[in-house]
Subunit: 362 residues, 2 copies
């Protein structure tokens, strides 16, 4: 069997070119005599990879010297705790915008550590199918930070423009849409992202910290849970996940060679227009009720007329070469995750399958 069209939500598809390059040098990296995963994290070969990854993140995202870029372990789930551990000291309060399951988890961790205000909650009967408008945000201008989840993988919503929170630093979980579209990073105090959607394999977490926010961070925490440790040591305080960072660096190079953020953003928009267009033009066979402005370009969720048809859609889809169509177990339905590595040509084939399926089963 060949490689299929992979729409898993994460871990997710990587660019085939990246995997081919990794395969080519898996046993002997740059004639070093060993695999990149067998070399010391203090070797000159690894050092070059590590530093290139950091500088490509800065270059691609347009981050100036106010921002530090670190690579740590533990996923966004660890950041849910590390953000408040580092920032929410006694007497401080943080705003959280509640837009889905991941924000819910971030709030739960923060509440165990400090004072949390929920600045908006878009749930209706436990379901989050929209994002708050600017005037629906109840913001505290004295908040230490305001936390958002930029893209909600489960419910398929995405902040395409970010809330205006004035001088309060934005803190964003961008695990599922980092590097997928261009935005002004200056309002952000912290951006964090598990790598396994847009950046590389699972096991690497990218964290971007603005220097003025870093200077407010606690330093009386366990060494590994202190942001300052990793900034001061350039993410080499202890052994980093070297192979994951190596693959992330290849993905970053791949983005650069595909026109940078501008290039991938253009393709992401084309993919989204095509897929949402197919849904909206299906005469109600495929249904996505998310307001147009809130629809995610990364995770497209939709329903069919019945759960039986959804099962058949998943099964027929797999037969036709489309992997990972099933919606998240908490909400059901169909979910197509199409991160940067998913090409427009793949979505073109997929909407062909969708049109065939609705014609036969509609």
């Amino acid at each position: 069997m060949d490689r299929l069209h992979n729409y898993y939500a994460g871990p997710a598809a990587l660019p085939t070119e990246v995997l081919e390059e990794a395969r080519e040098e898996l046993l002997n990296f740059q004639s070093s005599g060993c695999s990149v995963m067998e070399t010391s994290h203090r070797s000159k070969e690894y050092d070059a990879v590590h530093n290139e990854a950091v500088s490509l993140v800065k270059e691609l995202m347009g981050l100036d010297d106010k921002f530090h870029v670190i690579m740590v372990q533990g996923g966004a789930s660890s950041q849910f705790a590390m953000v408040p551990m580092n920032l929410l000291s006694e007497g401080k309060s943080a705003d959280y915008v509640l837009t889905g399951s991941w924000s819910q988890k971030a709030i739960k961790e923060a509440k165990n550590i400090g004072t949390v205000r929920v600045a908006a909650d878009t749930s209706v009967d436990g379901v989050f199918t929209s994002l708050p408008k600017q005037d629906e945000l109840d913001l505290d201008s004295n908040a230490t930070y305001c936390h958002i989840t930029s893209n909600n993988t489960i419910f398929g919503t995405q902040f395409r423009t970010f809330p205006n929170v004035g001088n309060v630093p934005l803190v964003a979980d961008m695990s599922s849409d980092i590097l997928s579209h261009k935005f002004d990073p200056s309002p952000f105090g912290i951006i964090y992202a598990g790598a396994q959607k847009n950046l590389g394999p699972s096991g690497v977490t990218l964290v971007i910290i603005r220097d003025d926010v870093l200077q407010q961070c606690n330093t009386n925490l366990p060494t590994m849970f202190t942001y300052k440790t990793h900034v001061d040591k350039n993410s080499l305080y202890n052994t980093p996940p070297t192979f994951g960072i190596y693959l992330m660096n290849k993905v970053l190079n791949w983005i650069k060679s595909n026109g940078g953020i501008k290039g991938v953003a253009k393709e992401n928009t084309a993919k989204a227009e095509l897929l949402y267009g197919t849904i909206d033009n299906s005469n109600g066979f495929y249904v996505n009720n998310i307001p147009a402005d809130d629809r995610s370009q990364m995770n497209v969720v939709f329903r069919l007329p019945s759960e039986d048809l959804e099962k058949k859609f998943v099964a027929d889809g797999l037969d036709a070469g489309f992997l990972g169509l099933k919606g998240h177990r908490s909400v059901g339905g169909i979910r197509i995750s199409m991160y940067n590595a998913t090409r427009l040509s793949s979505i073109e084939k997929f909407v062909g399958f969708m049109n065939d399926f609705s014609a036969k089963n509609g």
Copy 2:
């Protein structure tokens, strides 16, 4: 250039067969249509890998049902904090046996969290060249646990038999010698190990917890730093480092096919006898002053008559195909790390180089 003899201290050599298998299926794992690192951590393909890794650890180490096996992120450095966070509540005290740089770091983290007694300290002027004998241990029979570092990568010492601490649970950092020799696990409350020496690539941390110790653990910690989270969810609370676990599973299978722990231990002993024998029979050209019982089978450290000769040894060694000979930057000299994946045939070639070098430069 071909693959060299790799003696890096970690990340370290992996079995060539493991890398070849990984290369073969890197773009399409078991005809699933994608790489193992591109599949969902909830897919049946990944699930089988994950569970096989857990059961192979249990089988190879002879762990009965009293023990839980989890795979987390953050390295041993994170465990330095997680152990006391989970176990050292108010009013409790832990013993730590200080035998090198890694124990020092473990003690520093624990002291920030709870009450720590140093049960032994073998340093002389900041250098640790021996391990404490049983009668040199000042043990607290009421300690919540007693922490040891089973193998000291920097100073080249290793507990081949473990301190007898009565009913106090032993907690061991086994990052650098796990699965290298057989021992009775029953006195151990917690064993933890970063994968990047004997188990796989960096980015996976193996933690083994005895159930009675787990039951004493705090559960009012951040979710990700609570052992119970990962035990209850079989290390799938959040996305695990799937590719690292996949490679670890291959390494575990490789150990099994090489005679299990018994097989690798026999080879490790043969490698150590050959290398230490070469040092001891060099008429003082190569010097290792560690007491015979305390010598590490994993990391062999030695000095030459001068630093200039040590530099020449490292350079000539690299020319002859031997990588990673330099001692740790904090102590200098030469260090040969020879974990499970280093074969006896490699050490046979290396001692040939050593004998040539001493004949020419002695």
